[in-house]
Amino acid sequence: MKRPIRILAAGSTVAAMALIAAGCSADDGGDSDGTVTITFWGSYGNGGNSTQQDVLESTLIPAFEKANPGVQVEYLDVPYDDLLQKLTTSAAGDELPDLVRADLGWVPRFADLGVLVPLSQEMDDFQELADATYPGVLATNLWEGEYYGLPLDTNTRVLISNPAALEAAGLSAPPATFEELQAMAEALDGTDITAFADGGLGAWNLMPWIWSGGGDITDADLTTSTGYLDSAANVKTIQMLVDLYQAGQASSGLVGNEGAISTSEGLPGGNYATILDGPWMTGIWAGQFPDFAPVYSPVPAGDGGSISVVGGEDIVLTASSKHKEEAMDFIRFTQSEEFQLALVPTGQLTVIESLGDKQIELDPQLAVFTEQLATARNRLAIPNASEVDTILNTELVPAFEGAISVKEALENAAAKIDELLAS
């Protein structure tokens, strides 16, 4: 071993000791001079597209701090895919922040762990705030009779069409019903355009079809799936998708083919005529397919009407928070017109129903999404909701491949979901 390396080794040991000592002496900070610091974790800045984080950090948080002297908000941006893991570990170590911008599927999970505060008990004005939001979005916060959060931002899926593909099918407007979609698929037979594309069979993908077809996945009290998921209405709806797939008019991404052209590239590229997707697609295409002019329209209506699925995030307060009052003030601030409308231009839809018109004024392209949200519904609000996606993805594929009947596949999935609900 050469001398310089040895010196380096010895030197680093000393440096490390100093570093560790510095780490040990770092305190929680902030509270000595009377100011209260509330911490807030989320993934606004996700994807390096920092417009949302910029609005939050340079406009909204300063506005709140100005209105609430002595309170500071410290926002931490965490990669979206890893936020759940970080939250889980921090919950185990009792190191959660005061506030979390949680994906709406996570609220029941953390409420079940007992690390969240039921806002419907703690906040005097909860009912007033809750009443202002879309019912489907608010429902994502419900767990065992209490609301553990308030909606922060929302989104939903609508039908997005490629105008050139519509023209190729001889249509002047996107398909508005199941029948029109099937007719379009027949018209596209023999072209190299696929009528419909999606990236899987999870609840986010499938529920708009199921609800619009007049079916559901469980009863209202979340006790059983058998008798609901395998209903005649659902058999009819899923059979329609299976028929499209077997006729080559639904993309193989539907049954989990990772190699299929993604919906975000295939629609502007002319491979797909229609997809279901959210308001963020506009921004994605503006950068990469500047010439593409997507056509937005409601989810095709079936026997149940046109009903889509709710997505988005909720804001929750943790049980370990030492500054609950100040944190609840921030929650109230997130429900204000100022907060809600500031994020609209960055691709977040407001959760306040009465702000819908102002939202459309800010961005006319959001009209269809705003309208769709009024009836959009929430997926199963259970702690292990992600397993529902796995079940649907695994159990329904054999029906698409023609190995078993749609009825049989839905019965199998319902039986698995029953087990999930019982646990």
Binding site: M1, R6, L8, A9, S12, T13, A15, A16, L19, I20, A21, A22, G23, C24, A26, T39, S43, G45, N46, G47, G48, N49, S50, Q52, L76, D77, V78, P79, Y80, D81, D82, Q85, K86, T88, T89, S90, A92, G93, D94, E95, N155, E265, G278, W280, G283, I284, G287, Q288, P290, G347
Partner: protein, 284 residues
């Protein structure tokens, strides 16, 4: 077979060999070249089909953005400090342990060694929560020091295992001779064992540095202060799989910068590294 045809066959075989090797090398380097190419491509041209290996409208904008707007240099320095210090401490400590296991006889030696090896068999993810609770109680959360301590602890087992095997193969007679001349254990370790184990130390250094440089899960879990983030977290924040459009050009520009230290470490130590991998393969 005449001499000339044999030579012709030899040339033919050599050419085939070269073609196969070249194809293999191209296959290995293609993703890397693609990453470099994208890092110089403006964002609106990133996902074109077929992929462009030579960007049509090359730009340095991605690098400028990564260096300037995304604060990559700070995260680069954080990662470099953590990985260098962790590697140095880990190699130092594990070589001492390995020397003890290789040269000293003491009761329970093999038992202790096997307990150490158990550490290799537990997946790191399973240790995340217990480590987090431990780090919280010793005040190591949200600091680079917390990363160093756990990176060193996590790499000791493998390095000790590697270096023990290495040191056991150096002739014990040299050690005994030094002992006869009155050299104490420290002198024998520092002046004899370490120089002889250079290839092993190089191997341990490369592995440890790579592991610390790339480590993501633990850093993500304990680091909250944006100024203390390491490079893998920063790149992950750029490339998150959320609802937004990913700026691939910037992600790849940051990734190219992240690869540089790995290449440097490998080039510096690789001469010894290859030797380290093959030594002991043939008994001689």
């Amino acid at each position: 077979m005449s001499r000339s045809t044999r030579r012709a066959a030899g040339i033919g075989l050599g050419t085939v060999r070269h073609v196969v090797l070249l194809a293999g090398a191209l296959l290995m380097i293609a993703p890397f070249l693609y990453m470099v190419a994208i890092s110089f491509t403006p964002n609106s041209y990133v996902l074109t089909t077929p992929p462009q290996f030579v960007p049509e409208n090359p730009t340095l904008g991605n690098y400028a953005q990564a260096l300037d707007a995304q604060d990559i240099p700070r995260y680069f320095v954080n990662s470099l400090v953590v990985a260098t210090i962790s590697t140095a401490i880990s190699v130092l400590l594990s070589s001492m342990m390995a020397y003890a296991f290789a040269r000293f006889r003491f009761p329970g030696r093999e038992v202790i060694f096997r307990i150490l090896l158990v550490g290799l068999m537990i997946p790191a993810v399973m240790l995340l929560i217990p480590q987090f609770v431990l780090a919280k109680h010793v005040g190591l959360l949200d600091s680079l020091g917390g990363l160093v301590v756990f990176y060193v602890a996590g790499s000791l087992a493998l390095n000790t295992f590697l270096l023990r095997g290495f040191l056991e193969q150096t002739p014990a007679e040299l050690d005994e001779a030094m002992q006869m001349d009155g050299a104490n254990a420290w002198t024998r370790y520092w002046r004899l064992a370490l120089p002889l184990a250079k290839p092993g130390l190089a191997t341990a250094t490369i592995f440890t540095f790579l592991a610390c440089w790339d480590e993501f899960a633990w850093a993500l879990t304990i680091i909250n202060d944006p100024e203390a983030r390491t490079l893998p977290i920063a790149i992950r924040l750029l490339a998150g799989q959320g609802n937004n459009a990913v700026q691939w050009g910037v992600v790849f520009a940051a990734s190219v910068m992240a690869v540089i230290p790995v290449i440097v470490v490998f080039l510096v130590f690789q001469r010894h590294f290859v030797q380290g991998l093959v030594s002991g393969a043939v008994k001689g």
